[in-house]
């Protein structure tokens, strides 16, 4: 319980939760805004950690109770941190694309290893929100991740084609080029 304090970063918390779950035999993949925070060194600051897991919520709750997390509906809160942990219903997918647990990335940190979306998957995840809801914030986050991590444009092209969103992907590429251009 003492491992989590007010100064625990989102990356540290993700690693602590990930390793605790894995020790209990539960695989969970970090997705959503927390991955953006980790890949951009908090240029975008998320306060929610969304883990996708096929394990039942009661099993997850029992595993992370030892860290001091309390269940509040679907969310888990901790008395020492303002960060929330949530386990949205799976499966892990981006649009029509189902993502297997073996296809995601891993990030090794001092606090443990985090299983999380790869930078390209993270960009797809953000772009999916931009595609469906015209959410500019998600587009900006996709650009931030692509700039800080580098992504596979070929994979993004193929995915956007399958989703029927090539026009909107063009906008992302335009924004990316604008941000890359020296001012």
């Amino acid at each position: 319980m003492g491992r989590i304090t007010a100064s625990t970063t989102i990356e540290e918390l993700a690693a602590i939760v990930s390793t605790t779950l894995e020790a209990a035999g539960i695989i969970a993949v970090l997705s959503g805004g927390a991955v953006v925070s980790i890949y951009t060194n908090n240029e975008y600051e998320s306060r929610d950690l969304d883990f996708i897991s096929s394990a039942s919520t009661s099993r997850i709750a029992a595993a992370i109770a030892e860290l001091g997390f309390k269940r509040e509906g679907r969310m888990f809160s901790h008395p020492s941190t303002p960060l929330f942990v949530e386990f949205p219903t799976g499966p892990l997918a981006i649009g029509d694309e189902l993502i297997r647990e073996t296809e995601v990335g891993e990030k090794r940190t001092a606090a443990g290893t985090i299983r999380l979306l790869t930078p390209t998957q993270c960009v797809m995840d953000r772009l999916a929100a931009y595609f469906h809801w015209n959410d500019r914030q998600s587009l900006d986050q996709a650009v931030m991740v692509a700039l800080s991590q580098g992504v596979s444009l070929a994979k993004l092209d193929a995915w956007a084609r399958r989703e029927g969103m090539t026009e909107k992907l063009r906008k992302f590429k335009q924004e990316l080029a604008n941000r890359k251009r020296p001012k």
Partner: protein, 112 residues
């Protein structure tokens, strides 16, 4: 028609409503079917928890829609559209054909 699949009649109506109109808010959905708002809210919350619906605030109203990012969205949409097409004409007219196009403020309504 699909109530056994979705668990209850209200869940079926909520899903058909959102598939038909694209979006909706609890009071409007409840009024359409003469249900209580609390019963509709309960189903909306359940479906949102499952990732099937998403919601956002528009002013002071929470608007719901089918979640286009849910992995089974296309299949669910196709099923709901098929169910809508199979509804009796009278029911379609009563619950699923409310006016949605714009109308200038102050202009009288003749046919609704």
């Amino acid at each position: 028609m699909l109530e056994n699949l979705f668990g209850n009649k209200t869940a079926e109506r909520v899903l058909l409503y959102l598939a038909n109109y694209g979006q909706g808010y609890p009071r409007e959905i409840a009024a359409t079917f003469g249900s209580s708002v609390s019963v509709v809210l309960k189903q909306l919350a359940r479906l949102e928890t499952g990732g099937i619906l998403v919601s956002r605030m528009l002013g002071r109203t929470r608007l719901y829609e089918l979640n286009p990012r849910w992995h089974f969205y296309k299949e669910l949409k196709a099923l709901l559209e098929k169910a809508l097409a199979a509804l009796p004409a009278e029911e379609l007219k009563r619950h699923y054909r409310a006016r949605r196009r714009p109308r200038r403020a102050g202009k009288p309504l003749w046919d609704e």
